[in-house]
Symmetry: C2
Subunit: 237 residues, 2 copies
């Protein structure tokens, strides 16, 4: 099943949807979609349009796919909404992190600038991670996409918008989890670098709830995935 992502969404009603831009070019040039193929159109915000390709216009970067959507499905979010703010792993592991977070069902990811962190999430890198998040979401059929946000410092990340509970991931020392959430809860989980939190950061975190990622020390991407799974499960309690 091929899935197409519509930037900015559409009117969520049956009818025609035109997919252009990078996504249209990818569908035409790389995926080689043809008229007649059954596809799903996603807006990343819970809406899935089931349809069929009506027309493909080849034009290099301006390639477009015209889809006739027959049925529109609105999918509710599962369990709590989990926002991940993590240190950025080095090299390929950053892509693996985003790919796995999109599979397990995190809502957003933002780079966390930490005292002991190594890699930085620059503009170029963020673009690549956004592409990986989109591809990952399409591949696993997520109606709700994984959104990549802007980088934050620890001080910034500790101040969440109203209604969002802030939690800090803690390496080792016990089984994962330890937090009980309601299904409608919204949380932001901070995951530190492999060098751990600095004394300054620990001071900033005074009083904030800690979530253990598992019994052992983990690398950033494993800790992030483990915390999201534990928190999504905590929502079932």
């Amino acid at each position: 099943m091929h899935r197409l992502f519509v930037d900015g969404g559409w009117d969520r009603r049956p009818g025609e949807v035109v997919v252009g831009g990078e996504e249209g070019a990818h569908a035409v040039q790389v995926k080689r979609l043809r008229a007649g193929e059954v596809v799903e159109v996603l807006d990343g915000c819970g809406c899935v349009g089931h349809g069929q390709v009506v027309e493909v216009s080849r034009g290099g970067r301006d390639s477009r796919v015209r889809v006739r959507v027959g049925r529109v499905e609105v999918v509710e979010r599962f369990g709590p909404v989990v926002h991940v703010c993590s240190a950025v792993p080095k090299g390929d592991r950053a892509g693996q992190l985003i790919d796995q977070l999109s599979q397990v069902g995190a809502a957003t990811w933002s780079a966390l600038t930490t005292d002991h962190g190594i890699a930085e999430g620059g503009g170029h890198k963020l673009e690549r991670l956004t592409r990986i998040a989109r591809e990952g979401s399409k591949q696993c059929g997520r109606a709700w996409g994984l959104t990549i946000g802007g980088a934050m410092t620890v001080a910034e990340a500790l101040v969440a918008p109203a209604g969002v509970r802030v939690l800090v991931g803690e390496a080792g020392g016990g089984p994962a989890g330890g937090v009980v959430l309601g299904a409608g809860d919204e949380v932001r989980i901070l995951i530190g670098p492999e060098g751990g939190w600095s004394a300054r950061e620990r001071e900033l975190m005074g009083g904030v709830e800690m979530v253990r990622a598992g019994p052992h020390v983990m690398r950033i991407e494993t800790a992030a995935v483990a915390c999201v799974v534990a928190l999504l499960n905590a929502g079932r309690v």
Copy 2:
């Protein structure tokens, strides 16, 4: 902190431990351990020896490290014992699977031969995965190692030893988990290939409990990690 793995363990009493073989050679030639360094000696079965290197003898493959263990710590397992039987992902992803399973705390991993699976876990590959499991366990300080077992077919994997509950991972359709375990429980979780279970395999599985890995379709390694985290958490209920 450098950690040394002692094949076959030792007598678990303070005193001298000699680490040879591949592990000794690695410690001397790659890690360049020196006399006086503080190290931990692991047997992979819950015993951690805290000690200091007394002598290093360089001899290529016959290099050895002599450690004086001052204090012996016996670590209990956390929560349920989770055995993973999974289809083998292609290429580097098999290594990533083992590495992440050792971080999250799976007890064992065995290759599952499935009708829709692609890669096979041949002898050479298993040796490499055993090395990755050992390195992963050392890196995250696991007192209990991740053991790599022999390959099994689905029919074989469904027949577990007495006292071991068999569960099957199911892709998509809801939040992870759905199983409640006691802390002392021992389970074997079967994770299928990305092509899913065949009709024949589904028939074999009739009546076996299903565990959802999460709301979305996942790749093998992500599903395995998500299931282990969900099951270790289920043990806290």
